[in-house]
Amino acid sequence: MVQPDSMGERMIYIGAGNIYSPLGKSLSENWENLLAGKTAIRPYSSLKPEDPPLYLSRFEEKGNFYTRIFDCIDTTLLSLVGQEPDWSKTVLIFSSTKADIEQLESRNIEQSLLDYTCTKLQEKYPAKTAITVSNACISGITALLLAHDLIKTGQYENALVVAADNCSTFVSEGFKSFYAIASDFCKPYDTNRQGINLGEGVASAFVSSDRNIFTNTPTALLGGASANDANHISGPSRTGEGLFRATKRALEYAGKSPEQIDYISAHGTATRYNDDMESMAIDRLNLNEVPVNSLKGYFGHTLGAAGLIETLVTIEQMNTNLILGTKGLENPGTVKPINVFPDTIEKHLNTVLKSGSGFGGCNAAIVLEKLK
């Protein structure tokens, strides 16, 4: 357990997390549905009627992109003492790959841009600075990493981290052209996995050096690292090079050894290559015995929101000492054996890893620890 400021170093905390997804409109609703083993993924008809249905986790109501984001953030702020941070000491970090990209269908260029969304957020939540991070599917993790590093170096006291991506035709047609989409419910780490299910969602959380700003007990964010495979832009390294390096550096940075890791909240997109690559990296790090799960079978792959959504679910798992099963998994089948399972297990969780990988060969990992 971490003693606050035991090393005389600045401790960083994450809390006040909220998720607005097709699985639930609040963190507690999402968590209840996760525990009940529910999925938000459903079949939808394809753009071309002759194509097989698309399995997506999509909002049923066609609600406004911004309404969902604001709703999510407002709930995050309600979990802060005084319900409002000192914005002059706060950075707003927006994590997304494509934000409101569907605006391109009607050629609304300006509205499709990421900074358009980020500016709207800063107008409503007047942080000192606001920036968008866009690092493919690791965006959510790199947003947390940036929040941690900026606070660790004493340049800010707080960060409001917001992540959002939509399940657009733009993205689904692209993944389809890659033959990376499953024609059924996705099966992370399964021997018969055949691709991803896309998802959409919003998440928000608060990161701070002030433990007392949270109304509930936060979690320690010990930092982490990112690393590139330096191998291929659209396929992961077969040796898991970047993920291996990112995780190794994250552990070193957090001052943790592999034996101290109780659980890995992994990426598990259910593509052949990704899941094998992750198993290679886990094997090279001697983490084969550590329980691993993928949450893609519940939320789909929410791209730039995935890293934050999954980190917040990881914190719920830490708080309850439960590790959710990997939904969709029947027969584990990765190139190296890893400790995956279909049903929820109990385990005392103290120190955990959250990792992810994405197009462009990018990988990132962060370490979280339970507080007393």
Partner: protein, 200 residues
């Protein structure tokens, strides 16, 4: 002791300048041909370059020009790269959107609809495994970039950082790069010089 001066590079539609050396686009070549011209000027042998989209070509070229002055290692974790732009991957996004509308989306185009792909191209070209970050902002975020560089050096995440503004949309090219060591970054005069370079 005087720190060495950092290396800069600038590429626009009509000019490429790198530490005093200037190459003019006298023939008013369109962007893709202009990139090819600069590629040939550097006498690079790298066939992958020709498959890249405009944003990635621009980013790769900028780093190659820095390398004509700086001798940089390969197979390293010690070089961080942070890029910023306004339009993200909008140029590729629009092409992909048009392909969808024609019913012919292609993986070769779709992969470039993420801004950080250029960082991947640079990592592959140079075997750089280090920290990378892509920020999107309409104006140069000089405060945040400064703060980000502080995190890289103070938390020992790399011993050098390449900072770039890399924007490419509909034939409009805007690229600026600088590579810094911690000693150079600690020099206030150099920091001011960098702000001026990116702000104008």
């Amino acid at each position: 002791m005087m720190e060495s001066q950092p290396t800069y590079c600038r590429i626009t539609d009509d000019l490429c300048s790198s530490n005093g050396q200037k190459i003019h686009n006298t023939q008013k070549l369109p962007a893709q041909q202009w990139f090819r011209f600069l590629f040939d000027h550097l006498e690079l042998e790298y066939p992958k370059f020709h498959k890249m989209d405009g944003l990635s070509k621009l980013g790769v070229l900028g780093v190659e020009f820095l390398k004509t002055v700086e001798s940089l290692p390969t197979e390293t974790d010690e070089i961080a790269v942070v890029f910023v732009n306004k339009h993200s991957s909008l140029d590729a996004d629009l092409s992909h959107q048009e392909q969808i509308e024609k019913g012919s989306a292609s993986p070769a185009m779709f992969v470039y609809t993420l801004p950080n792909i250029v960082l991947g191209e640079i990592a592959i070209r140079n075997k750089w495994y280090g920290e990378q970050q892509f920020f999107i902002k309409n104006e140069w975020p000089h405060e945040l970039i400064h703060e980000y560089i502080v995190t890289i050096f103070e938390l020992n995440k790399a011993n050098r950082i390449i900072i770039g503004y890399v924007d490419y949309f509909q034939e409009k090219t805007d690229g600026k790069w600088v590579i810094l060591t911690q000693d150079q970054f600690n020099n206030e005069k150099i920091r001011e010089e960098i702000n001026t370079f990116f702000d104008k």
